[in-house]
Symmetry: none
Subunit: 140 residues, 2 copies
DNA sequence: CCTGGCTGCTTGCAATTGCAAACACTCTGT
DNA sequence: ACAGAGTGTTTGCAATTGCAAGCAGCCAGG
């Protein structure tokens, strides 16, 4: 499932390439991929690996992130949200990440208790099952 | 060039899988990939496509971005996202806000200090999860 | 003991990626 | 007109991904 939207990905790459006024061969060479393959990718008949995508992004001087989003490989940025920010921060070790999430939850619960002692909110983590896909439960 | 760091990627995935207390087959099924392939990925002898990575990330309930960074497919972009998110969070008291920022800084400094060239997978003491006796059974 | 269930790992094999070579077409210049 | 240099596209083919089936080891409990 979660079929990649190769079509719009290819369109986007071609669009960016045209915007940069590069020929297919120029971009291909600069990105270190073959011209025919790039052609096929742009027309959506090939599903390029992430490695190729990064090379293309680099050659196009665009963010690899946006390219991934376009390819459907990455969720669009949620922007703010402490939990998502922590979850996304790759400079933290897993232990640290969990610690920070726990602390944050504790703080939020603490505040909720002060204002409205009836809801202990969600310090207890998700032992309950979540049927829907849920990446992060945050919204300040 | 742009050699993918499949080694640490695999380690990271396995680390996360163990942290989630899932068996290889469980994760494989949940991620929609085959068990043997996941095994090979975890041991760093296969270079999984981005599509597979997203599926694994989703099944592990971790950020796909983190996984990409770990795989060397994405630059670790600033990480100051955590600080701004904390700064903007209106549900925190000022004291809590400063505490979290301080903790975060401490964590980052801690990691910078260690600067371990090899496996930073240091899960030596973990109060939250209990990794069962890890009897290493493989030796290339 | 040994059957069943669990863990992860190895082995062929189909499908796909990604490339080198060659094709078709449009301009430009001589 | 024709050679030459651009453009993007098609065509086989090596290398790789990713999988189904099978293998080996470790525990519980008839």
């Amino acid at each position: 499932m979660s079929k990649l939207d190769v079509g719009t990905l290819g369109e986007y790459i071609r669009e960016q390439r045209n915007a940069a006024q590069m020929s297919l061969r120029q971009l291909a060479k600069s990105a270190g991929v073959s011209n025919p393959y790039l052609s096929q990718v742009e027309r959506g008949l090939r599903n390029p690996s992430a490695e190729i995508l990064t090379q293309i992004a680099s050659a196009l001087r665009i963010s690899a992130e946006t390219l991934y989003v376009r390819a459907g490989l990455l969720e669009a940025h949620d922007a703010s949200g402490v939990r998502t920010a922590i979850a996304r921060d790759s400079s933290l070790t897993e232990r640290q990440r969990r610690a920070m999430l726990e602390i944050y939850s504790a703080f939020v619960a603490e505040n909720a208790a002060e204002h409205d002692p009836v809801t202990p909110t969600d310090v207890s983590e998700d032992t309950t099952n979540r049927t829907k896909e849920d990446h992060d439960g945050n919204h300040p």
